[in-house]
């Protein structure tokens, strides 16, 4: 069964460093998302991406964040200068073609630890 994959599973970085989290969405999906979950808290929407541009972003997704689909398979989240409060689990999700609403499939997550 196709699934969303994410790498790495755990990333440790120093405050102020740049990190790139990688996701491979399900191959025929067209909509891509990033969410984060701070330890013990709820899952929060960051950004959605469709047709090579951002469709929607939350207030969390400030200028320190960017997303990119550099090729036909990867979807990345970049944090330019990490802060301690960026420590969280980051989930990628994808959704199939529009027309009929359908669910988002989530990857296993990348745990980001900022020291």
């Amino acid at each position: 069964e196709p699934e969303v994959t994410q790498t790495p599973s755990h990333q440790v970085t120093q405050m102020g460093q740049e990190v790139i989290l990688r996701c491979v969405p399900i191959s025929n999906h067209l909509y891509f998302y990033w969410y984060r979950q701070i330890l013990g808290q709820k899952v929060e929407f960051l950004v959605s991406f469709y047709n090579n541009e951002i469709s929607e972003k939350s207030e969390i997704f400030d200028d320190q964040f960017s997303v990119e689909r550099p090729d036909g398979s990867n979807f990345t989240l970049k944090i330019r200068s990490t802060k301690l409060e960026d420590s969280a689990m980051y989930f990628c999700a994808s959704r199939a073609r529009a027309g009929v609403y359908n669910e988002q499939f989530f990857g296993p997550g990348t745990r980001l630890t900022v020291l």
């Binding site: 709820k42 899952v43 929060e44 950004v47 959605s48 469709s55 929607e56 529009a98 609403y101 989530f106």
Partner: protein
């Protein structure tokens, strides 16, 4: 803006007993509703979804949920829980708008504990 309330932070149920997890949503139009389960250290697995039609939806692992528009609720139920059901359960609402403007809004989650 839409919101989701899961009023129970923790619920403890005996193995074999029935389960109901509550979810209330706030959204001006017809919502798209989901229940996800998260086991410790794992990602989010979709249990079931409601888009339209029959208000009682069946999901995986023996779960079901009922959409009640008049109560703005989408409660999750299971007639007999198993120890493996111990996990965090999240209710979420989506707007289903075009062009990918449909980031899900999650509730804070309910932590389910199964006692022998």
């Amino acid at each position: 803006a839409q919101s989701v309330t899961q009023p129970d932070i923790h619920i403890t149920v005996s193995e074999g007993a029935s389960l109901e997890l509550r979810c209330n949503y706030s959204y001006g139009a017809t919502p798209y509703l989901f229940w996800y389960v998260q086991s410790p250290g794992q990602g989010l697995q979709l249990l079931l979804k409601y888009f339209s039609g029959d208000t009682l939806v069946q999901g995986i692992k023996g779960f079901e949920a009922e959409f009640k528009r008049s109560q703005s609720s989408f409660n999750l139920r299971k007639p007999s829980v198993h120890w493996s059901d111990a996990a965090e359960y999240f209710c979420a609402v989506g707007r289903g708008e075009g062009g990918g403007a449909d980031g899900l809004t999650f509730g804070k989650g309910t932590h389910l504990i199964i006692q022998p």
